[in-house]
């Protein structure tokens, strides 16, 4: 088995970020689509809890932190920041990413991945072949490029799912 879990999450990351508790109507509503709940958490686990060929877990978490910051998703950003701390990742690097100071990072490969992530989050239409080739020149293999694209795309999904559920929950209490 190559997919041994590195860290098993005890929580549903989306519920935790909204936040939704089991006594809330929106939590119950979400369970009407239980396959989506399970596949969303399993996708998260596939991105972060397993080994992913070509990308370190710290790199994946830094990309996630950057994507959430750019998308103004503070709860999810806090989640990935905590995971970075638990991973004993370099706090100065995490600080720089959290404050958007990408240019100060010494690691050129990481800078290139974060630049790619920022563009893909904000202006997906600007995706082009040259961006993929730049990352390949930094040593990213084809599986690594697929994983990085999936990661950024999944975060775009997760951020919108949390935002939509938050609005549903807010509409309930003010109804």
């Amino acid at each position: 088995m190559t997919n041994l879990p590195e860290a098993l999450p005890a929580i549903d990351v989306v519920d935790d970020a909204v936040p939704l508790a089991p006594n809330q109507p929106t939590w119950t509503l979400r369970r009407q689509r239980d396959k989506v709940v399970a596949a969303t958490q399993s996708s998260h686990d596939a991105m972060f809890s397993h080994a992913v060929e070509g990308l370190t877990r710290t790199e994946r978490l830094l990309v996630a932190l950057h994507a959430c910051r750019v998308s103004k998703a503070p709860k999810l950003a806090a989640h990935y920041r905590e995971e970075l701390a638990a991973e004993n990742a370099d706090a100065a690097v995490a600080d720089a990413v959290e404050s958007g100071d990408i240019a100060s990072l010494a690691d050129g490969r990481l800078r290139a991945m974060l630049a790619f992530a920022g563009k893909l989050i904000e202006r997906p239409i600007e995706g082009d072949r040259a961006a993929i080739e730049t990352l390949a020149a930094h040593g990213l293999s084809t599986p690594a490029l697929v994983a990085l694209s999936q990661l950024i795309a999944f975060l775009s999904y997760q951020i919108r799912l949390v935002a939509g559920l938050k609005a549903l929950a807010a509409a309930e209490v003010s109804a």
């Binding site: 893909l120 997906p124 697929v146 939509g164 549903l168």
Partner: protein, 197 residues
Amino acid sequence: MTAPIRIQGFTNEVLKWKPWLDTVNVDTATPAQLAALDEMSPQARTSPYFLVLAHQPEILLQRSIAFNAIMFAPGGMPRAERELGATVESRVNGCVYCASVHAQRFEQLAKRSDVIEQVFEEPASAGTTPREKAIVEFSIKLGAEPGTVSAEDVRALKEVGLNELEILDLVHSVALFAWANRLMLNLGEPVFPADGS
């Protein structure tokens, strides 16, 4: 056969997609890669898009389960409206390939394409009924500025008759295409059929 829609660079024609990365060879694929492809659809083994994604089989497997659960779950929002949400998100993100596929699916399900033409022309004002307009508006906002979606936006959907499960299905569909569009736009490009073919 009616003439294809071609508006603002978007179309409901059948397009191809050319990957910028090597695809997995089905003949030498691992059991995990084949399982992920088959979870998606019976056609995935011949699709360059899914054969690129198969380089990361566990991620593709989970994404395939999510995709099918969101777009095909019984009850809730009518499937045509989920396809409309997907098409709006694809239009706003500039994903010509995704927009073409889901415009076709909307037409197959709804037996009309009027709102698709409106979405291609100008999404901000698209919708043939108050319900459709509200769905389109919500899709644009959740797609483009997720941080600004509020209880007010949910109430606007309820006012035109959507129930909570329908709203959840719409959130899922728009969010799913935030995911799909970014893969399609960054791992390859659409290929248009030669004119007159």
